[in-house]
Symmetry: C2
Subunit: 116 residues, 2 copies
DNA sequence: CACAAACATTGACGAGCGTCGATGTTTTGG
DNA sequence: CCAAAACATCGACGCTCGTCAATGTTTGTG
């Protein structure tokens, strides 16, 4: 469920801000809520931040387990949630799994949130 | 926990984007996660949207219960969560309770999310 | 091939969340 | 003062979520 497919693009012809805006659909609300849930967790927020702050913008599980003070299975679980929601991407090189932030994913999610 | 007090203002002197950004603190991650959790729910996202789309940008519980297809106690519960997180504000006039979006709350929350 | 390292997966547990019916509280109207 | 309307609160239920120990899987190494 990549962030880019969360919602259809807003009608670009809407040049004038309408007096009464349109209510978000039940389907879109469910999709957006699912992605927001993926981010609405202290450990996952820190994981995102740590990946972004790490060298070359990528980090493996071993880089994240110790500073997060959580067990390795828990860290892997959180990373999986973030990958499945389209925030992070995973690339395996050798024994290591490197995680990277999907460019623009956080920004588009923030954009969707701001226009609810 | 108003949104405005979620995080201290970023250092405005940071004119140049640092090679390695700073990791969000455990405390800030917890606070931001709590506010995001308040928004990461389909019913609450629709409530926010319905309040914004309603006449004069305010709506009472009776306006929201039927279109949301949820019981009145459930709607009141969701509204309370949104008020306590600083997204909505409540003003009682007579028997009715009118809910309004706190100006800029969603935008600042989105801004915090985008800079994690 | 055997062993170790890095992750992923599984199963289980406790805590928290969304929902509702029932009930309490406050305000208006007669 | 009493009845009705609009909400809020309470208590309870099922479900989801975050966490961990144990185990499985894959890759590199001697």
């Amino acid at each position: 469920m990549p962030v880019a497919e969360l919602l259809p693009l807003r009608d670009l012809a809407a040049c004038c801000a309408p007096i009464t805006r349109e209510v978000i659909s039940e389907l879109d609300a469910g999709r957006l809520a699912r992605t927001l849930k993926a981010v609405a967790d202290p450990a996952r927020l820190r994981l995102i931040s740590m990946v972004a702050a790490h060298e070359d913008g990528e980090a493996c599980v071993c880089d994240l387990t110790e500073p997060l003070e959580l067990s390795q299975p828990t860290v892997s679980h959180h990373l999986k949630v973030l990958v499945e929601s389209g925030i992070l991407s995973r690339s395996k090189r050798g024994t290591w799994a490197y995680y990277t932030i999907v460019p623009g994913s956080l920004d588009s999610l923030a954009g969707l949130l701001a226009t609810v």
